[in-house]
């Protein structure tokens, strides 16, 4: 069994994209700034979770609030990448639906201090669909190797992480009559996926293009 301390340390792997992002923040294309903000907020949320778990043995409230911020930042990121081009109404509609679903799941159906998996599964699907949409665009429009394309790499990270997240959240949703040890073991899968994805995000942040003085016509 993975110890709690190791899990906390592995969770801090998000520091890699966050630090690289902060160093490059002033130079990079502004379209990617929501992603850097997400990484920094993730570090902050992780630290807050560690503190709250030590003091109150629960981190559900901050986690539930963070997932809303996370979902909104990613939808804005996809808007910046042009997924909602010529369909700005869809962007606002998506933000509204995300916010509405969060309110329903966290404030109406359940409470803010419980683990509410429904919204987590819902926004994971939204992010996966948006990523696949963007990846399809990149297949035909990207001129350079996709392994150095930060947009593609971030989309890969999103598809991998949120596919696992949505699957694992199902265990929490159906509330199996299982021990805490079982749920902890299930959660370990996500910890390692998170580590892998944070390494991808770190690589992606390194390749974020600089602010464009010139426009590339594709």
């Amino acid at each position: 069994m993975l110890s709690y301390n190791v899990a906390v340390i592995l969770g801090y792997s998000v520091l890699i994209p966050a630090i690289i992002g902060l160093i490059r923040f002033s130079q990079i294309n502004t379209a990617y700034q929501p992603f850097i903000l997400f990484c920094v907020l993730d570090v902050f949320n992780h630290t807050l979770s560690v503190v709250l778990i030590n003091v109150y043995h629960a981190n559900t409230i901050n986690s539930n609030i963070f997932i809303l911020i996370e979902a909104v930042l990613f939808v804005i990121l996809f808007r910046n990448w042009g997924v909602f081009k010529r369909r700005s109404v869809v962007f606002y509609l998506m933000l509204a639906v995300v916010a509405l679903f969060w309110i329903i799941d966290n404030l109406i159906w359940h409470q803010l201090n419980t683990i509410n998996s429904l919204f987590r599964i819902f926004y994971s699907f939204i992010l996966i669909f948006l990523s696949i949409e963007q990846m399809n665009v990149l297949i035909s429009s990207a001129k350079k190797n996709l392994l150095y394309n930060s947009c593609f790499l971030i989309c890969c990270g999103i598809v991998i992480f949120y596919s696992y997240k949505a699957t694992i959240e199902v265990f929490f949703l159906i509330k199996l009559k299982a021990s805490i040890s079982f749920y902890s073991s299930i959660f370990i899968i996500l910890i390692f996926v998170n580590l892998f994805v944070n390494l991808i995000f770190g690589w992606a942040v390194l390749w974020i293009p600089k602010k464009p003085k010139f426009i590339s016509p594709h």
Partner: protein
């Protein structure tokens, strides 16, 4: 964990492994597909441009080598006719003048299609010959500078020449500019072409959505087949700047 939980956990681990394999395969397939699409696209553009240049060269050669001498021969024969009547002499003079005009026009068209100097003397000299001619026809001052541009591969020479022509053409047609600066340099193992005009510029995103135009696509295609990168910097009222970097492979 009890036995039942362990079994469910192992099942979950296997499912996670399967999901991981599917996702990695999905991503690798996408990367491979992009490379394939990119390669096919480049090959298609390259074939189109090669065919176009080949046809231009053939037509230019036909005009210059076949039609030119034929017209000269006609002129020579007409001038050789011994006439007494003044009206007839005037008619022949006019006809001879028309043939001269036609000959000049044939040379111009031939030059536009494929300048002989481009292959024989290179890019810089061709542009130095072309720019003054262009300046006489339009109210645009072209400032051309170059540094370290020696011999370039023929295809690259032709492509860069066409790019410069397209930029000049776009500037004349759309920019309302008075000045166009063209810089051609070779910093290290690449050729850099920078141009800027003092015209009205345009809203790139809006233009791209409405209709990017053939000119811009041509520039992009030619830059792509040389594995180069074309970048545009423009805003309404701030002119247009092009930057093209072409690696010397």
């Amino acid at each position: 964990m009890d036995t039942q939980e362990t079994k469910v956990y192992i099942a979950a681990l296997i499912a996670a492994g399967v999901l991981g394999i599917i996702l990695i395969y999905f991503i690798i397939t996408m990367i491979r597909q992009q490379r394939k699409t990119q390669r096919l696209n480049l090959e298609k553009i390259e074939a189109e441009i090669r065919t176009l240049e080949k046809e231009r060269k053939r037509i230019a050669s036909d005009l210059h080598d076949d039609l030119g001498p034929l017209l000269s021969a006609i002129k020579f024969k007409i001038n050789a006719v011994d006439l007494i009547n003044d009206d007839d002499k005037l008619l022949i003079e006019n006809a001879s003048q028309h043939i001269d005009d036609t000959l000049n026009r044939v040379r111009e068209i031939s030059f536009d299609l494929m300048p002989n100097t481009l292959i024989r003397k290179g890019l810089v000299q061709t542009l130095e010959e072309f720019i003054p001619k262009m300046e006489k026809l339009v109210s645009l001052k072209i400032h051309f500078t170059h540094k370290d541009i020696n011999e370039l591969p023929t295809e690259m020479t032709i492509n860069i020449y066409r790019i410069v022509l397209e930029i000049i053409n776009n500037t004349v047609k759309h920019s309302q500019a008075n000045n166009l600066v063209i810089q051609l340099t070779k910093p290290g193992k690449k050729i850099v072409l920078l141009t800027s005009d003092d015209g009205i510029g345009f809203d790139y995103e809006k233009k791209k959505e409405e209709n990017p135009g053939l000119g811009l696509k041509n520039l992009q295609s030619r830059a792509e087949i040389m594995h180069g990168e074309l970048l545009i910097n423009t805003q309404r009222g701030k002119g247009v700047k092009y930057s093209i970097e072409i690696p010397l492979l």
